[in-house]
Symmetry: C2
Subunit: 356 residues, 2 copies
DNA sequence: GTACGTCCTGAGAGCGCTCTCACAGATAAC
DNA sequence: GTTATCTGTGAGAGCGCTCTCAGGACGTAC
């Protein structure tokens, strides 16, 4: 058996301190470091925080004391006075469609963010916001000075939180252009360019009946990709059909069935996400259509499965990890008091494989 | 343009305070709540923390004051005195094979953990530990009282950190039995049972030459699954071949080629992860083997792709999200000073689809 | 010699909170 | 009436740190 409580025999136990569940071998304080180095606490603090105005020998003495005692600053104490916490919240809305673990968008973003914050020595506080209650909690938490800044990995609908935070003075950066008029800086991906490249690619191949499986229309990615699709086809004589999905495989499957019903003679499909393309592929196969011979298929995202689908999927790659990195980088600049562009647009790229 | 700095006109600005990048509309303190309610700070604190020993009318007065002022406790101050931070670190080793975003293990675990911590009002601090430097940082961070407890989502090799933390008195729970003799409590999955079920299923179908693509042998999951495979086959007359993979698709692809070379007549493959099964499937197809007619294929994990593979993959399901939940739940119990089992074993389940 | 900088260092206040301890007031026991 | 027993509240210390401000030491200018 194992217990988190202090066992009676622990030497370093803090006495008379209510319920300390922690065996605290009394971590050294700045005071002790100072004493050991024979200086004042103020000077020790200066050294620890890298002030250059401290005389060389003293500085070294303090460093030595720090090393000998294994001193690590107490973040809480520091936060209390500096008003900075050294941590950043990353908010991920957990919608039934864009679920954290399924498509690889969020995990990719998290990775990118993590890398960048890591380098800046900031902590990443992850908040998966699925329910209304969770949203409230996140709001309370982020507006209450518990984090230095907030990152949104895709907001759905017109969530007022980013704007609210920004007004409260909390630095915020969003992934994806926020719906509604907001002055919150954001990082986005060249959806339009990607979709246009995909459609033109299909057109070049002589496809005449190009359908699309659109993403959810309460998310910018869904909206933008559909708009771009329509626009890309606007000039042409091609017939186009639209079915609605929600980025999931299942919805892709269903939408594809719908599409085949609406236009049995369609010869190309652009799915607004790889996951939906994956679902669509299954339906196509069941319906006896060969890909790409009968129907060309193009996705969007270029997640891991894409190149392992059968046939490997032509898709629009978006630099997911880089989105995360950029998100974090922009926020760090904000924290440093620098100015930041209203928006950053990252490039997309058409990856042609065998499905088209 | 946008800037994180205080703009000159902000009313609530804190004066003369070095570089405050935050517009602080001077958040109310407990002192102010107390004054407004006409009580002492101590009493206000009692009410805020839910003490029952405060007289009804006073309690209500304080609550009113809290509501009116929009008071939110300052976590840093609270932490400073209570020695608890209210946050939990989740450490994910970012190995090249089990990468955060690709197979859906880590994201799933994160979800589970997040849900559970959410309910307990704890913050999740995510640490993706990829490099040695990152590992050091994580060590420093977690050993320094910045978090109340630490969760490990799969450790590779015999990382000494969990044990170290536990000895330091920091509550720890691991996912997967730690290698080496450690007394750190952990949550694992019934690898053995799952693998045995898979192999028996293959045997029952009359498969005679069963090969396996094993996982990396510096991870318990890799080790255990291989050991179980061998054991399951030990009694039978069946011939078995083993190829090594590292849980990735690519390695599955390669390993499968190897296997076909070693035993061209094999009629079944058990892959220690779905991702490897996915890679293997591709190789099989290229080699002109039909699945399941010529070769039966079974995976492990039951991640999203499994049922969308062609043919849908028979696999051993492990309750990924539940692992996360259990992890968190055990840690919370530890924090509460409760005793906790040395290990919890979650069930696995064979999901038979068309690939076998 | 005095006056004035310049450069470092230390004293000390105070961040917002919790928790111990003392004590006032009410109630009960004798 | 006195003493004992609660109950509920307030005073105040102190968590570990940063940062301002004062002042000592030293150098330079007059």
């Amino acid at each position: 058996m194992w217990t988190g409580s202090t066992s009676g025999t622990d030497p370093g136990r803090v006495p008379g301190r209510g319920i300390t569940h922690r065996v605290t071998p009394t971590r050294p304080t700045l005071e002790q470091v100072a004493r050991r180095a024979g200086v004042s606490r103020a000077t020790a603090s200066r050294v620890v925080n890298g002030s250059t105005t401290v005389a060389r020998p003293i500085r070294e003495a303090v460093h030595r004391a720090v090393a000998e005692l294994g001193y690590v600053p107490n973040l809480a104490a520091r936060t209390l006075v500096t008003q900075r916490t050294g941590s950043i919240a990353l908010i991920l809305p957990e919608t039934p469609n864009r679920v954290f673990s399924d498509d690889q968008f969020f995990p990719g973003v998290v990775r990118g963010v993590s890398q960048e914050l890591e380098a800046a020595d900031k902590q990443l506080v992850l908040m998966l916001v699925g329910s209304a209650a969770a949203h409230d909690r996140a709001e309370r938490y982020t507006t209450s000075g518990h984090v230095d800044g907030v990152l949104f990995a895709s907001i759905h609908g017109a969530d007022p939180l980013p704007e609210l935070l920004a007004r409260t003075g909390v630095p915020v950066v969003c992934s994806g252009r926020p719906l509604g008029h907001s002055r919150v800086p954001y990082v986005e991906v060249d959806q339009h360019g990607g979709v246009v490249a995909a459609v033109q690619h299909l057109l070049r191949q002589g496809r005449r009946r190009i359908a699309t499986i659109a993403g959810p229309q309460d998310m910018v990615a869904g909206l933008d990709r559909l708009a771009a699709f329509r626009q890309a086809l606007a000039g042409s004589e091609r017939r186009s059909v639209v079915a609605m999905g929600d980025f999931t495989r299942k919805s892709g499957e269903t939408a594809m069935r719908q599409l085949l019903e609406d236009d049995p003679r369609l010869d190309a499909v652009f799915a607004a996400s790889d996951l939906m393309a994956h679902g669509a592929l299954r339906t196509l196969r069941k319906a006896g259509r060969r890909v790409p011979e009968d129907v060309a298929l193009v996705g969007f995202d270029d997640i891991g499965i894409a190149q392992y689908m059968d046939p490997p999927l032509t898709t629009v790659r978006q630099p997911i990890e880089r989105i995360g990195q950029t998100l974090a980088r922009q926020l760090l600049r904000l924290l440093a008091g620098e100015r930041v562009e209203d928006s950053v647009v990252l490039p997309t790229e058409l990856i042609v494989r065998d499905s088209s």
